[in-house]
Symmetry: C2
Subunit: 336 residues, 2 copies
């Protein structure tokens, strides 16, 4: 088996921990697994305790691949340091996603970009990954004309602290001891209708990410797309309500389902079964699609529901798939 040295920056975070857990799936043994986190602690991999270390330039020395999931600021500061020491960086933050020189990769869609030996590979935004995983096979078969998406995003997407806060605030509400003002924006039993700062066109950061990143990944710079993102009081998994139109629309529901089912990670709602929902998809690899129907608004329009674990396919699993590809290319002598 191929042996390698691998690092995780932000190893104690929700995504970092999922990534660590997934590593057992890689077609490689680990000569070393180096974990970085702000506060030093121990984490388990294959029943072995691993101590985390603080970030330092020298800390990256000798690593083959380093997965970053500690926010854009950390990536902007440290990714170059890792690259200088010959590690390939898979970055889960937004730091490099819009950089035209850095590939934004969802492996089942554009893993060919890894052949160009990038030193940094950007892992897309969680909602974007779920969306394009379902859109890519539809684009291939029917050519997308427009995409309108409303995303209902769980608290785990905002990180561990936000998740703990939500639980505490929810407890407070249930026990009648909440101590905020009615106007306070909190997602405890409440939907917050934006994520991140709002730009001059009225779109918030998360919406911009979805629109920009989807175009880049699908290689459709002129795609008509608009997004509306909300933080909702669910613990994990993001759900997306999507309206689509096509240039060469499917002639039937069967047609559309057949195209969708070609994508490896897609699971389509079975006939007569209830639609997939977040709790059900949490902890599962697949991107679930359901409630597929024609849109009475437009002749060539369709409506669907996409739901997936934002920490898995939406983040760590996609990162792992990128690492898998890199390892395969390394073994074949193409990369590294």
């Amino acid at each position: 088996m191929f042996s390698m040295k691998l690092g995780i920056v932000g190893a104690t975070g929700l995504v970092g921990q999922r990534f660590l857990k997934l590593l057992a799936r890689l077609p490689a043994s680990f000569e070393e697994l180096r974990l970085f986190s702000r506060s030093q602690t121990s984490l388990f991999f294959n029943k072995k305790a691993l101590h985390t270390q603080p970030l330092s330039s020298e800390g990256f020395k000798g690593l083959d691949i380093c997965f970053f999931s500690a926010g854009a600021d950390v990536s902007r500061k440290w990714a170059e340091e890792a690259v200088k020491r010959k590690a390939i960086v898979i970055d889960n933050s937004s730091a490099f996603r819009e950089d035209p020189a850095i590939p934004l990769v969802v492996p089942e869609i554009n893993s060919h970009l890894l052949q160009y030996k990038p030193q940094i590979i950007a892992n897309p935004n969680c909602t974007t990954i779920q969306l394009v995983t379902a859109l890519a096979p539809l684009q291939k078969s029917f050519q997308l004309k427009s995409v309108r998406v409303a995303s209902l995003q769980s608290i785990s997407g905002a990180g561990k602290k936000a998740l703990d806060n939500l639980k505490e605030e929810s407890r407070a509400i249930l026990e009648g001891r909440e101590n905020y003002e009615k106007d306070d924006l909190s997602a405890a039993f409440n939907c917050v209708p934006y994520i991140g700062a709002i730009n001059d066109e009225g779109f918030c950061e998360e919406e911009e990410k979805i629109m920009t990143e989807s175009k880049k990944i699908l290689e459709l710079p002129d795609l008509k797309i608009s997004a509306f993102t909300l933080r909702v009081p669910t613990l994990n998994s993001h759900g997306l309500v999507v309206w689509l139109t096509f240039h060469n629309p499917p002639t039937s529901l069967k047609d559309l389902k057949e195209a969708l089912s070609k994508a490896p990670l897609i699971k389509i709602q079975e006939e007569g079964k209830p639609p997939p929902h977040g709790r059900q998809t949490s902890g599962r690899d697949s991107v679930f699609v359901g409630r597929i129907r024609k849109d009475p608004v437009e002749e060539n329009g369709w409506i669907l529901w996409i739901v997936a674990d934002n920490l898995l396919k939406g983040a760590s699993l996609n990162g792992l798939q990128i690492a898998e590809k890199l390892i395969t290319l390394k073994r074949e002598g193409v990369h590294g």
Copy 2:
């Protein structure tokens, strides 16, 4: 002051109780306030305890107006009995909404229908009321071409028992003692992507209601409209993500806001303030509109967020407004 006899069927329900509380606003004194509920209990109005009674045909005798909010089955069985005894019925259930002979009324839009002396007046679906309250002034100014709406509906819309269940299930999850299967459909920390049975076209009951009722209220039988409804883990207030296109679109955001602000119950997000959210709107009369922006998908398209208390303007307050109009007409000798 005008004096009258008024009844409430389903007086102990979430909507019934809100309606009772709102009665103090009516421009009438009450010779009698008769409350009906399945199990007998006492409710307070103006600090006076009123005993509820079971439904009976004779129980409606002498009532001027009777508000029904005990579900479609109760309305189908008892509304005619009330009408036979000369009471005007304001029905909050779905029983008569699609009946072409029965007016479906949002007073600021179509209160003129009350002049035709209907014996039953249907109060629209909660989400529909919020939606059309914002759409009506836009229709007037810019003529709607298409409407796509995703609604995030709170548990209070499913009634008291559902609300209690949600709280109990949420407690169980927070305390780690949940005892359902992962696939179980529950809205506790989970978004359920449909409400009611799904028809052959793939739309659930709640979506059908929104599409059918909006056309009827706006008197736009050919309006292109599609809805996606979800039950979300919020306690109260429904939120709507809406994509619109117009025949004669507004030329600017200011233009659109000006048209919207003509509707009496609309409150528009103020410049520089965060968008309105459910917790904030809960307990308030208004329908709040925010996040208004141009839709990059379509030249004449706009996106907005509508949020309101589904038990108030979405149900009891709209019913009260109908009662107000009826009382005014009665005083003027037009009705009854």
